[in-house]
């Protein structure tokens, strides 16, 4: 009688192959990324007391208006974001204590306010105030 001897394949241990640890690490990376997404970043603003009055030297005051179509108006002329940033930078050189007072139309978008805050922050303007223009 002939006895056939078949060669059996060796079974690989799943855990030993390292597949599970790879999978687990991928999941860890995924959850770390998800956790990082929850961190808020933006601008911190100090709100003045309601009805409080601050005295500012006229020369230090820079009035900017944000219109309902999100245009920035400085001294009667409409400016783009880059132009306004340049104007603030130039003003800050001559008046280091410049106060940027922004009047926002109720219909202007929130993004336009955020951009104005960013312009003030990037040009190191410490005194920044904003208020809503009266509705007509």
């Amino acid at each position: 009688m002939i006895r056939l001897r078949t060669k059996r394949r060796e079974r690989q241990d799943v855990a030993a192959s390292g597949v599970l640890s790879d999978l687990a690490f991928l999941l860890i990376v995924f959850f770390i990324v998800i956790a990082v997404f929850n961190v808020n970043s933006g601008f911190l603003l100090g709100l003045p007391q309601k009805g409080s009055v601050t005295t500012v030297h006229v020369d230090d005051l820079m009035r900017v208006e944000i219109t309902s179509d999100d245009a920035y108006v400085l001294n009667g002329s409409r400016l783009g974001v880059a132009e306004l940033s340049q104007a603030v930078r130039t003003r800050r050189v001559t008046q280091p204590n410049v106060t940027m007072a922004v009047t926002i139309s109720p219909d202007a978008t929130y993004q336009s306010l955020v951009t104005a805050v960013e312009i003030a922050r990037s040009n190191d303007v410490d005194n920044f105030s904003f208020s809503m223009a009266e509705e007509r």
């Binding site: 599970l20 687990a24 808020n40 911190l44 929130y110 990037s122």
Partner: protein, 135 residues
């Protein structure tokens, strides 16, 4: 006569690695569940330079383009927001208020929330943005 024992080759226990990885996974899952927040669909305003404004205790108020106000995924009124802020400040005076408003929200809706904060004499507010790549 000296007997020489055959030295075992040093090996890294790979099986234990997966156990550690799974423990880490469970830990991070729990942490992310604690940080879990109810997102309201909004288009974040963008800014190139933003600072991290998150602190230990945070209160998030979401404003949609339509002016609807949300907290923890639930629609609330300005009066509810006022009550929420008072409760949060009483529980922890160091709580930080975050305003997450859609970039296209008319300013009047955001001004309403800011007015509530001013009325309550809450001084510091965080305007949350998403960081955009510098142009």
């Amino acid at each position: 006569m000296k007997l020489r024992r055959p030295r075992r080759k040093p090996t890294v226990p790979v099986n234990a690695m997966s156990d550690i990885a799974f423990l880490l996974l469970i830990f991070i899952m729990l942490i992310s569940l604690i940080n879990y927040r109810q997102e309201v669909p909004i288009d974040y305003p963008e800014a190139e330079r933003a600072e991290i404004t998150q602190v230990d205790k945070n209160l998030e108020l979401w404003v949609q383009k339509s002016g609807d106000l949300f907290h923890d995924g639930k629609r609330i009124s300005l009066r509810d927001a006022e009550a929420l802020i008072v409760d949060a400040v009483v529980a922890d005076p160091a709580v930080r208020i975050h305003i997450l408003a859609d970039r296209a929200t008319p300013y009047r809706h955001v001004a309403g929330v800011l007015e509530v904060l001013q009325t309550l004499q809450h001084r510091v507010v965080s305007l949350v943005v998403s960081e955009s790549a510098p142009q």
